[in-house]
Amino acid sequence: MAETTTTPTAVHPSEAPGVAREQLVLNNRSMSWVSNRICGIVENRQPFIWWVLFVPSVFLFSCLIFTLVYLVSTGVGVWGTNQPVSWGWAIVNFVFWIGIGHAGTLISAILFLTRQKWRTSVNRASEAMTLIAVICAGIFPGFHVGRFWMVWFLAPVPNANAIWQNFKSPLLWDVFAVSTSFIVSVIFWYIGLIPDLATLRDRAKKKLGKMLYGFFALGWRGGNRQWRHYEMAYLLLAALSTPLVLSVHSVVSFDFATSVVPGWHTTIFPPYFVAGAVFGGFAMVLTLMLPVRKLYGLEDLITAKHVDNMAKIILLTGTIVGYAYIMELFISYYAGNQFETDAFHMRILSGPYTWAYYCMFFCNVIAPQVFWFHWCRHNLWVVFLVVNIVNVGMWFERFVIIPTTLARDFLPGQWGYYSPSWVEKLMFLGTFGLFLMLFLLFIRFLPVIAMSEVKGVLPESDPHFPAWRKLREKRRLAASSAK
């Protein structure tokens, strides 16, 4: 465009030495390579390992159905919850799964607004992970009410006794927050899918494929008159989802923070939970993406740089979580509230669950510190090991927060102990089955990477890029002929 008016020293940022960024897509892959590789996952036969994972996940899912039916038909007594620990594994699992769901929305929304182009390789799968995690999470509050057939009382309509809900209760805020998060994530994910569904539609050979992909692609034609509204919609949804990431897990933390129990009644909970959710969510994204990129040959799209960036985010949020743990301990010592001091003394030294606390501390604070080292971030086995340790640690964090605190509240006469029954254990395993099953189905039928977005960040996608190449060549020739 600007052939002669730029200064002789101006260089395009993508090519300046020392500033040039690593390629987002390696090996100079073309757009059609991207389409072929990603659509190929859907169009070709699945690798054998897909079946090796799918069949057990369906089995575990059926165990989940069995435990849910058993719970509703027999009663909440089949669980290990009691007084004082009335919230056990069910709520721990709920917060665990919801927390995992936050990484997807963060990658889709916040990394979009901060112009992190590397998000394009991971946003589709992590948003799918979010949706599936929220489905797994939603099972627990729904079924932990005991009388499941009355769970519609949570909807904002008068209940069977013509009484409205208590909108001042955090339990109801939760209903709105989680439902909104799920619906907005579905909308965002679907809008992102439309151009890719059009790609699958245009490549589909079989009638059923053409019909289904064509139906859900809504007749997308990729015209710029459509793209400009689409880009506006995408930007607005990213802007809407950003406060959602921050608010939903804060509202979940309000379930605990608005109570009076020592160890729960603290204002640190909202930022602590949100940081923990992002932390655990990114760990789960890597847990899924590292095998997927290997199995389906996506290393040129989900590169070492992507893994590096995600490891750094895990390090950052893990350190924030560690800071929150230390601050809780300090404030319990310093604040002068005897109940708070005793609650934390029992958590770390004298209570029945101190093993859980140290497990949590090691997994969440100590283990991710290896990511300070470049070698550790780039050795995929180390990364895979550490992110799984983080997954375990984040579950333990919720365990330490919930049953540990309830087991030791104000009156010693009230103190108790909680251990989960087989029904709770099987139900939790069953949700992993549901999660894996739905994720495998997502890989099987939908494009696991956002093709149109990746094409948009390839170097050749910029209409001004070839002009810079030619200009630089011209200048180099001019400089060498002038010598």
Partner: protein, 185 residues
């Protein structure tokens, strides 16, 4: 209407393929300057700066979304205030059931604002881009199907006032098109 002659011979328009996004960008500027109105570029991803090259203004979807958000905030506040304070004052732990209850309504109001804004985004988008529309003459063209893969296409419709079959075809060749295909209804 100048469309009658093209309608009778069933011509929808031309699809022209360009080699790179830069070529398409420059071609779009030429088509814009030539005064065409019923035309579009079809790409696998949104090309940076193409709105300017086509002479298009910004999208007003944002207003629709704002309206949705305001509706959400209003609905949530009205719902909660009406049910908790007016219809049946819900006293919980002796907390007030009057105007001072409003801070407790914030989380639900916030979430419902976002929810209705998101619905406005989805339905507003679908209305603005006039989808779903599963049937369109362009789907008859095998060249057009490549837009979703890696092709950069420019489509000029026959019903445009400046469209003249042979001249438009040669104009497209002049501005750098490779393949040019006729699309019939």
């Amino acid at each position: 209407m100048s469309t009658s002659s093209s309608q009778t011979n069933g011509l929808f328009g031309y699809v022209a393929q360009f080699a790179t996004s830069a070529d398409l960008y420059h071609a779009a500027e030429e088509v814009r300057d030539a005064g065409f109105t019923r035309w579009d570029v079809h790409t696998p991803y949104p090309v940076h700066g193409m709105d300017h090259a086509m002479g298009l203004k910004k999208s007003w979807l944002s207003v629709v979304v704002l309206a949705g958000g305001i509706a959400g905030a209003f609905t949530a506040l009205a719902l909660q205030f009406f049910t908790q304070v007016m219809l049946y004052p819900t006293v919980v732990q002796d907390k007030p059931t009057n105007l001072f209850t409003i801070p407790a309504f914030f989380p639900v109001t916030f979430e419902l604002t976002i929810l209705l804004a998101a619905f406005a985004t989805l339905f507003g988008l679908l209305i603005f881009i006039m989808l779903p529309r599963w049937n369109h003459p362009l789907f008859n063209s095998p060249l057009f199907a490549k837009f979703s893969d890696d092709a950069f296409l420019l489509v000029i419709e026959a019903r445009d006032a400046k469209f003249k079959a042979e001249q438009t075809r040669s104009f497209l060749s002049e501005i750098g098109a490779g393949d040019i295909e006729e699309v019939k209804f």
